[in-house]
Symmetry: C2
Subunit: 445 residues, 2 copies
């Protein structure tokens, strides 16, 4: 269990080790949580944080201490945003029932959302979680192609349902069933830029060959185009294209998992746009309602028809007026406050600042990413690029002491994942950099 | 497609048949919905309803017409309830982030929820939809027992994920995979009361025998204890006990799907309590947040441990402070307004009124149910009890003309499913009965 949690998140609380060290109120509240949630309780940090308030990109704990939130990709337009609260409240008071009735709040939102996609992607199926969207997308690809074979990256995470767990080697400790083929993540740190695309396409080609050799028909390649749980790989722009072309040549679908990169985080509305590719299905979730549970799969009409010809499908809470109200607030604020442009600007500023630390800190192997999705890889040696998960864990816990919340990613958990709400500006980046410098200094790295 | 929809819901809109008959604004809005949602659009009635407002157990359409909602089991404390809107709004403004942090709103709610369950059920896993809860429950039962075999009823619906669709013969047109065994629903209308329990237990025993004969280890029996999609079967109280005992004797788990009966609808907090049985896992959803997307699985610590020993599990939107706020409002209002007691009282009053119509209307074969979950079975002949789905469909559409919204259930779609919000009183029951009488008169039934 401890081992598994360490893969998922280097900064997880481990009851057997960490509970005896706690004292007072935080011990009482931690024990209460463990009693209620049982072994499924997942808490961050060796001393858990009791969060009572959020504003912009900051969270406040029960003692009134303020933390810069560099982990949360859900509250994209900012924690506690009044427009989401107001729109949702008004709609819950008005009506919030299922989509078997017409309601213009729902249809207006669906139109606005679909307007952000390229032409052939004209249908939306509303769901409630990213897992539900990926589960549905995989099923649609099976019905459409008649295949059952899936390709995902070796450190992928695509959800917590039965089916999506099977394509999430980061959760299942890399055991995947026969019909799933793993390809190495496009590690832009350990390959030359010009090799990344061809290598990834080659791995995809070989995976399809192997599938077919074993009598499994290829259905789809499902990738998160920021490769979040693999360790955050964004550049060179366009490296996905060759693999997507291969997928299409072989009769499969390309499912773009935009649960993490979607809604502007990468500096563009959708992450796939950076790669100049056209997905067959796009799935989205986390930031869609700024915390109101909502998600969707967007696709072509003929793909959704392949599903509904074979089975009924309905989602009671999916796309209700309450969800549409939350989603509308998010789209409005993203635009009005120019948060997508800000993601580019603030993200570049943050990465420049972090790269400036590399001269003095050889433990920083690589600073990469796009928009407000940054990966900072910690290594034992820049020559061998050997991962240094121990330093990453130490730094994460020091960062918390300096009032910055973040997490780790990658198969070795040595990549700091810096992913704040999009309402994150130069001053916040400076705050992060100062805290990071102080954390490194304390560890003498 | 038309055939499938008719099984799911006798009052579904069928574009090819029904769209040409529409005119004006409703035609425009219907076309817009079909364009946006594609073939996954599911609309009620031959002329869809544009719903703009809800209050108590009433919905209002775009023309200001008022409809008695006898279909909606989500808005359990009433449509547009201000306490849900206020609590959610305040919490969304305060903070609404994931459960990797501590937050007393979440833990207080978890305590209140768990206090409604018998002792050994002490852990809760929060999810976002009933499908997610059932998907998780099935997975927990597999890890705990080491088995893969499931038993469900022949008209069951348990969700829309890949795994839950496999145990939902009502969606998949009765094709189920090898590891699923169907048992006939406990048809209380076609069996003597004293036979219902033994017959159901016998079918379960034979299903386990057959599974084992085919080398499939039994994992769990999953049943909705009001048998909603099978046609609503509630009595005699306790008929599930013998089957549950058999399940336990054979090493399987009993998963109580309380997505439909839970939160007081049957006149008790949980439907399983009417049967004097103890589930190993209880799943819940629909009414839990009165429309805010939330759900849960409640179980014993050792069952949740069997899952977390083998795989990671986390649900980003599950059990956040926003969900806990909605859930708290529901538990408070259920209690303050005595809605569970009201479900018993108003439900009995409604069924008495409907039974009084049987003398003049032989098409009413049976009126059954408990609390505010009533099934009214329409038959061609009371002697043969032959289902009459045509009359059921006609009545449903006439009821809509008389401003009552309801649906149909059962393998033949001949059972009116009368399932209003729990804020439904004698006057509302009278409104229903009058509309139903008028509908029957128009059909000369």
């Amino acid at each position: 269990m401890a081992e598994l949690k360490s893969i998922l998140s280097m900064n997880a609380f481990t009851p057997s080790e960490d509970l005896p060290k706690l004292q007072g109120e935080i011990k009482k509240e931690t024990e209460r949580r463990l009693k209620l949630f049982g072994s499924a309780a997942v808490l961050f940090f060796k001393e858990p944080l009791e969060v009572v308030k959020g504003e912009g990109c900051y969270l406040y704990d029960v003692k009134g201490e303020k933390y810069l939130d560099c982990y949360n990709n859900v509250a994209c337009i900012g924690h506690g945003h009044p427009r989401v609260a107001d729109y949702v409240s008004a709609q819950l008071r008005q009506v919030n029932t299922h989509t078997r009735y017409l309601n213009t709040v729902v249809d207006d939102y669906a139109e606005k959302l679909l307007a952000t996609f390229p032409k052939p992607l004209t249908n939306v199926a509303f769901t409630c979680t990213g897992s539900e969207s990926n589960d549905l997308a995989l099923r649609m690809s099976m019905y459409f192609t008649g295949g059952t074979g899936f390709i995902v990256t070796s450190g992928a995470y695509h959800g917590d349902s039965y089916l999506t767990t099977m394509v999430s080697p980061s959760t299942t400790r890399r055991k995947v069933p026969d019909f799933v083929r793993l390809v190495p993540a496009p590690d832009t740190y350990r390959q030359k830029p010009e090799e990344v695309g061809p290598n990834f396409a080659k791995a995809v080609r070989e995976a399809i060959d192997d599938m077919e050799a074993h009598g499994i028909k290829f259905a789809a390649m499902l990738v998160d185009d920021i490769f979040s749980s693999d360790g955050v790989f964004a550049d060179p722009k366009g490296f996905l294209k060759e693999a997507v072309d291969e997928v299409h040549r072989r009769g499969g679908l390309y499912i773009a998992d935009e649960v993490q990169p979607g809604f502007g985080r990468t500096g563009m509305m959708w992450g796939f746009m950076r790669h100049d590719v056209l997905p067959d299905i796009v799935t989205m979730g986390k930031p869609m309602g700024n915390g109101y549970p909502m998600s969707a799969a967007v696709t072509r009409p003929e793909i959704i028809e392949a599903l509904t010809r074979s089975t009924g499908y309905f989602n009671t809470f999916g796309g209700t007026p309450g969800a549409a109200a939350a989603g509308t607030a998010v789209l409005e604020v993203l635009k009005e406050d120019k948060l997508i442009e800000n993601a580019s600007d603030a993200g570049n500023y943050l990465r420049d600042g972090l790269r400036a630390l590399m001269a003095d800190h050889p433990v920083i192997g690589d600073v990469r990413g796009t928009g407000l999705f940054t990966g900072l890889e910690m290594v034992k040696d820049r020559g061998t690029k050997e991962p240094d998960p121990v330093s990453a864990t130490l730094v994460l816990n020091r960062l918390k002491a300096h009032h910055v919340l973040t997490g780790a990613a990658g198969p070795d958990g040595n990549v700091l994942k810096i992913r704040p709400p999009l309402r994150f500006y130069h001053a916040d980046a400076d705050f992060f950099i100062d805290a990071f410098k102080a954390s490194l200094a304390e560890l003498h790295l």
